[in-house]
């Protein structure tokens, strides 16, 4: 039997305390809110799962959830292929590489609300470059009036802001492929597409997994950009989950339902990331396990 040394717990203690104050305690406050009806600071009533039930039946929330899912999937569908394509076309070495890296990383340095403001002006038909150009071309474009336009503008904004992240991750992944692979492919007479399909894409799996998870989680929590651009409108076209949540909590002071919804929101993200992660791991290891049993 192995001797057990309980002293090791002391080494973990600082981390446990930090995490408790930064994550667990605030989360417990939310849990606390979600099971009570707070009428005033002195009067509160325990309501059990009532808020959860109410939130689950909320039609508006369902609509926001679908809107959110569609948006996040659209973000992934555009940013991941675009990021890979961008990374493939970036120069590998020399001063050009440094220059391109800096240029690509620029948009990542801009704060969310500034991105929103930039696009708000950029898209205006009277003074914005994009809006004016579209108007001049005869395209009827207005992110404040048309629901589809607003949705597309938020998507474009996210793509503009975050595709460079995917590109940089892929770029790093591409640079880590040894030259011998490309040389072997040339010797084997592989086409450009075969090089991508059989060398580059498989070697990018790791970074792509990180990129997909990051972009999914991040876009699932999008708040500032649509808030600055459209305030969630027109109608509810760009009211995504966190926007809806803020309206509930801060706008209407429905702390109970908002807290209940926050927890559900948290669980949804956790669940989706868990599924995504496992699925992407499985893509790589399914055959491995199969091979092991032969």
């Amino acid at each position: 039997m192995k001797p057990i040394n309980q002293k090791a717990w002391w080494l973990v203690l600082p981390v446990v305390i930090c995490v408790a104050f930064s994550a667990v305690l605030p989360l417990m406050t939310v849990v606390n809110y979600s099971v009570q009806d707070i009428i005033s600071p002195e009067r509160r009533v325990f309501v059990g799962t009532e808020w959860f039930a109410a939130v689950m039946r909320d039609e508006e929330l369902h609509a926001a959830l679908w809107r959110q899912l569609t948006f996040s999937l659209a973000v992934l569908a555009v940013e991941i292929p675009l990021g890979i394509a961008l990374a493939l076309s970036m120069p590998a070495r020399g001063w050009q590489a440094s220059l391109v890296l800096v240029l690509v990383a620029l948009s990542l340095l801009i704060p969310w609300n500034v991105v929103g403001t930039i696009w708000q002006i950029y898209g205006r038909a009277d003074i914005g470059l994009l809006g004016a150009a579209l108007a001049w071309l005869g395209v009827d474009y207005s992110y404040t009036g048309d629901a589809t336009d607003a949705w597309i503008t938020v998507l474009a904004m996210d793509v503009w802001h975050w595709t460079p992240l995917v590109a940089l991750l892929c770029y790093a992944g591409l640079r880590s492929i040894p030259d011998a692979y490309y040389q072997a492919a040339r010797i084997d007479g592989a086409s450009r597409f075969a090089v991508f399909r059989y060398i580059q894409l498989p070697k990018l799996r790791g970074v792509l997994m990180i990129a997909v998870l990051l972009r999914f989680m991040d876009s699932f929590m999008i708040y500032t950009e649509p808030f600055v651009l459209t305030g969630g409108g027109p109608g509810n076209a760009t009211t995504f989950l966190s926007q809806y949540l803020t309206q509930k909590a801060v706008g209407q002071f429905d702390l109970g339902p908002a807290a209940a919804f926050s927890l559900i929101y948290f669980l949804i993200i956790l669940l989706l990331c868990f599924i995504l992660y496992n699925w992407m791991q499985r893509v790589g290891t399914a055959d491995r396990e199969g091979a092991g049993h032969e």
Partner: protein, 374 residues
């Protein structure tokens, strides 16, 4: 398959000025169709560059590469139809072993049944048949390198198969096995094989002809025996053999060779060359140094500084004047003690003499014949 002729020089710099700017100094070399060659030399001697020039991954900055007389300098590796195996295993992770082996054939549009037959044959040769349907990503390093070797050997019509230190990642006991396998494959397929290595044992056992290289120069091409018996250049003597050749500064004085203060008589055939050279270097392999009585005429007087038991032989190190001499002694002979004075016979049929430019000028007792062949 093809005969390969090289007449080129290569520098990675745009404007090479001196010898050290060249990765490969001007050289002329031919590889016969169906031969097994090894390029042997220390790291950075230009052997991988030479290999990449043959395969077409690198274009020579000067000169030409010819396959069967046709200039292929401007052609890509595909057009040259070369197969190359690299130092570290390259496998296509998402493919099975069979798909990996079939990949070069599929890219060339061979009919499926021929691909299948060929893949089956190569897999059998390399003992990969049992793993054909496994994914290549999950195999051990040596199995992966076998796949790389297999992809190199799978095409029947290749001009040559080039190996760039392919057994580096392989366990020692498997190395022997794979090297034997390669030799056997060479006999079966009659391909031209060129094998780069810094391991002399590997080179000498694998190849019919070994090209010894140093600092961008090919200093000798020959069989294992030639490289061992008659190194044309001091580097070859030093690099081949374990330990390498002993080199002793010597000069011609009063009708004899003077080494470490002792005058040693030589065969009459050597007199002309050596007296003309004046100062030269005497080279003798540790295997050919023999013990003699300290007072014996024609032997160097030396003090033993180290005696090592290397298992199958004793390695004796002795100091004669300024120079150190190593000798391999059989365990059966009487082994002197450290500090003892011994006589060492360094002149014999295997002794070589090198001029100022480190090239062989005379050897043993038949120098004229050897000089002609060099």
């Amino acid at each position: 398959m093809a005969r390969i002729d090289l007449d080129l020089a290569h520098s990675y710099l745009p404007d090479p000025q001196q010898d050290s700017d060249y990765a490969l100094l001007p050289l002329q070399m031919s590889f016969a169709d169906g031969g097994a060659y090894a390029l042997l030399g220390p790291s950075g001697c230009g052997k991988t560059t030479l290999l990449n020039l043959i395969s077409g991954l690198v274009r020579p900055s000067r000169g030409a590469v010819r396959f069967d007389g046709a200039d292929v300098t401007a052609r890509s590796p595909q057009q040259r139809n070369i197969a190359q195996v690299f130092q570290f295993p390259v496998v296509y992770d998402t493919m099975t072993v069979a798909d990996n082996l079939a990949f070069p054939l599929r890219n060339r549009g061979l009919p499926p049944e021929r691909i299948k037959a060929r893949v089956g044959r190569i897999a059998e040769m390399l003992e990969l048949s049992g793993q054909l349907h496994q994914r290549a990503a999950n195999l051990a390093a040596d199995a992966k390198q076998k796949i790389s070797l297999g992809r190199g050997l799978v095409r029947e019509d290749v001009s040559a198969v080039l190996f760039d230190e392919p057994l580096t990642v392989i366990d020692p006991h498997l190395k022997w096995q794979l090297r034997r396998k390669l030799k056997q494959i060479h006999h079966e397929l009659k391909l031209t094989l060129i094998y780069v290595t810094h391991d002399q044992v590997e080179a000498l056992t694998f190849a019919d002809q070994v090209v010894v290289m140093t600092r961008g120069r090919a200093v000798q091409i020959g069989t294992a025996a030639e490289l061992f018996e008659r190194p044309q250049h001091m580097f070859v003597g030093h690099f081949i053999g374990s330990p390498g050749m002993n080199f002793l500064p010597a000069r011609w004085r009063e009708g004899a060779v003077e080494v470490a203060g002792r005058r040693l008589p030589v065969a009459p055939a050597l007199v002309g060359t050596l007296s003309a050279a004046g100062e030269f270097t005497l080279g003798v392999r540790p295997e050919h140094v023999t013990l003699a009585d300290a007072s014996a005429e024609g032997a160097l007087v030396a003090e033993v500084t180290q005696v090592l038991d290397i298992g199958t032989y004793w390695l004796l190190t002795a100091r004669a004047g300024e120079a150190l001499v190593r000798a391999r002694l059989s365990p059966a002979s009487a082994i002197p003690q450290v500090g003892e004075q011994v006589g060492l016979e360094v002149l014999g049929p295997h002794t070589c003499f090198y001029g100022r430019d480190q090239q062989l000028i005379a050897a043993g007792s038949e120098p004229q014949a050897l000089r002609a062949s060099a």
